[in-house]
Amino acid sequence: MRKLQTVMGMTLGFILLSQVFALPAFAQDGGPTDDDVNVIARELYCPVCENIPLDVCPTQACEQWRATIREKLVLGWSDDQIKDYFVDQYGPRVLAEPPAEGFNALVYILPPVLFAIGAFILFMVMRAWKVEPPTPKGKGVTVESEDPYIAQLEQELRRRDE
């Protein structure tokens, strides 16, 4: 509560809001549109609330951050410059994904490596199983009958009933 005030505070009549950028459209004359701002905001995360993209975060703080994006756009900054500015200001957590450098590169490296190892193991397992001749004993193989399809269904049912 102490941390975040909601946008709806404005209906309570906070005077402070007279200079708020909550309604950025007043900069509509040729300036960046709300959509221009949201394109960048969508790829940034609110620095104080957890895991909420900046373009949909309803708090007043987020309104201010969107206003900041607008200010920077007016100054002619590029998307990357704005993102870098946010990282400098608020730390790497504002990015939807950590930059792939240093220790954090691990987040991208590990999954494909694990996948490759897993695929290799799966391949080895399957090959190992294949070595044996087809089931000498144990639960049997499909038997042909007048309709192979229905026979197979019936047989699977029998197996389940064992």
């Binding site: 102490r2 941390k3 975040l4 005030q5 505070g9 200079q19 620095p47 104080v48 708090t59 007043q60 703080a61 201010q64 951050w65 206003a67 900041t68 200010e71 990282v87 400098d88 200001q89 608020y90 730390g91 790497p92 957590r93 694990l114 996948f115 190892i117 897993g118 695929a119 193991i121 799966l122 080895m124 397992v125 190992a128 199983w129 070595v131 044996e132």
Partner: protein, 194 residues
Amino acid sequence: MEIIDNSTTENNEESPGKTPRPKWGVVLVWVFVLGLLAVLGIGLVRSQRGSIRVGDRVPNLVLSTFDGDEIDFADLRGQIVVVNFWASWCKPCEQEAVELEQAYQLYKDQGVVFLGVDYVDTETEARAYLAKFGITYPNGPDLGTRISQAFRMLGVPETYIIGPDGRLAAVKIGPYLSLDEIVNQIETVMAEHK
């Protein structure tokens, strides 16, 4: 040939291998499970311990102020430093803003340094806030949230008073309710370090 164990798992975390219960697979699984528990355990300890405690040494930090100065905490050794965390979007911070400035006026000639750290804020609103409450002591953004993370701060407002020895001397979580409360806390710290 004996029966080939077909239990082997294609899962990367579980024990792989062709023979029953491969040794290195078991070791790997244990390393994984215990490692996971360790990460969770340390994460838990971190989330539970709260902000730094009175008596802890405050790490060396640099505050880049809105006026373009660089204030190194290390250079302030020997003085009492009042570090106030605030943000323009923080309503409770407004309760104590004027009182903090009054306290600064009282103590600025007595070897007490006031610093305002603006926690995840936007510059335009932050400057407006400083102007609105007539705050004159040095203030700067908490770049990359490094300062707040060093104090393991939980929310704004919070105020940390560092003694001349560079150790944390007093903490106030939440807003000060009166000028007296600030004065009392500073006086206590001054008395302790006489």
